[in-house]
Subunit: 304 residues, 2 copies
């Protein structure tokens, strides 16, 4: 049994109103696997980097119980690089640079030792690659969670629609749910998207929390109101990783466990935004996480 995470392992250079970074390690698979690592210890990653990617960063993933056998290192090539600048409201950003590099011809090879995968996290990546991973698994995982973004809806909608037919849980933000469904009301959007394949839909609303839809049920999860959002990069990936890591830990797929998984994912995402990149996710203590979870419980609780 294991949790397989696919996505990007990459370099980011980030500017926010609080400062800027040189190239730091980012990528959807990095954030998602770090997020998951706080709840589950059998994580396997499929991704690709160039020979510019530091060995000690790979070792750091391994220290977080991430098996990197499926991390391809392409000699003579460069890692995926993204650079962006956040606006003052931290809700919108401009992309300054996108260098696909090794991603351009990424063939997601699944090591044999990964075929025991029961939980599959399809981190944000080309839907074609996400689909290939599903096809290459001999047994369908018990739970497939897919994260994606408007970028793929713009340039690869047909492939995206084919991929979401194959997954159990789709995680997108509110603008993306509206774009994908053509409906403004999130309730109508969710109804439509739930006919496209996924049995569960999570709509991420950033500072407004998240909504989980399943059949006719809805769960509204709060977001922790934060005085400072230092850097939102990777928060969605971290949320998704925390979500599936928690699901893998509890081992039973149902609506109630997913509610809790959303709270745990949100808690990890709330740490992620406190520092640049994945820095805050590197050394969280159990106590810090438990305290943060208690903040969520206190925030949302009412007793009529």
């Amino acid at each position: 049994m294991s949790l397989l995470v696919i996505g990007t392992v990459a370099f980011d250079a980030i500017e926010t109103p609080f400062g800027k970074t040189d190239k730091i390690v980012g990528g959807s698979a990095t954030f998602a696997s770090l997020g998951a690592s706080y709840f589950y210890d059998k994580i396997k990653i499929v991704a690709v980097v160039g020979d510019d990617f530091p060995q000690h960063e790979i070792e750091d993933l391994q220290k977080h119980n991430v098996n990197t056998e499926g991390l391809q290192i392409k000699q003579g090539e460069k890692s995926f690089f993204w650079s962006g600048r956040y606006h003052n409201d931290m809700n919108s950003r401009d992309t300054l640079v996108t260098e696909l590099n090794v991603l351009e011809a990424f063939d997601p090879i699944i090591p044999d030792s990964y075929q025991d995968c029961e939980y599959l996290m399809l981190g944000n990546l080309s839907p074609q690659v996400q689909q290939t991973v599903i096809a290459r698994l001999k047994n369908r995982p018990k739970l497939i969670v897919m994260d994606t973004m408007n970028f793929w809806m713009d340039i690869a909608l047909d492939e995206l629609l084919k991929t979401i037919q194959l997954v159990d849980v789709l995680t997108i933000n509110d603008a993306e749910a509206r774009q994908l469904s053509g409906e403004f009301s999130l309730v109508k959007a969710a109804r439509k998207i739930l006919t496209m394949g996924p049995k569960y839909l999570i709509i991420k609303k950033g500072e407004h929390g998240a909504l989980l839809f399943h059949e006719d049920k809805i769960f509204s999860a709060p977001a922790l109101p934060l005085a400072e959002v230092f850097d939102p990069t990777g928060a969605g990936d971290t949320f998704a990783g925390g979500f599936i890591g928690y699901m893998a830990k509890v081992g039973t797929v149902n609506f109630n466990n997913m509610k809790n998984a959303i709270i745990f994912g949100s808690a990890l995402a709330s740490f992620c935004v406190e520092k640049f990149g994945s820095e805050r996710l590197r050394n969280l203590s159990e106590e810090e996480i438990a305290n943060r979870i208690q903040e969520f419980v206190g925030l949302a609780k009412f007793e009529l």
Copy 2:
């Protein structure tokens, strides 16, 4: 003991993507007193209308346990009239017509029989008038709730700041909280506003619910995800009325009761938007409200 509601009683003409109305009865005091009437039966209103205001509408308020002794009827004058058109997203609107009419020289006279007021709802209205009402009450009410909007921040900020010094609870939306505080983070905005007078701050976030701030405590209330928002006019007033009506019913001012009051106010607001104007608030059954409250409980509940 009674609940005093001041605000506007007026005519609205509304256009939404779903249709348009001729002049229908609206106004902050109308919505707030109807909202409150579902939880509390000693409601007294201070407002002003012209002689164009239908007697049967006044009788309808009375049927909802609203004492209209303080409703001034100005002979030979016309009621306040507002007309607006909502955009497709229902979150923004254009004002087409504003005719102040009787509001221009509104002097909020408090009948002697109203001096037993323990709960005071200052519905959206000029902060100068709101302040005058407080000054004219011989005993300070146990709880003063004030609703206001960006319009008054734009044209009467000094008066607004004087008035909010005098109240216990301020209800504004997220954009208004940012405008009033000059802070983008709602946590920082709340901290600043809580130094301006109010002991409690409710930030209304429309489809994203509401946040209650008090000292270092925060409560995050969900909004019911709705497939259709037919007409948002009056939802904020209804929320405020339901909130203070519930507080008057329970009779003890504390953070926990306010959490519940927010849920009850949100439930009533969720009815308000289902039809044009205050139509949906005219004949709600106890069972409808109880069922809606249960939807809120189900929506937000998680058990770790």
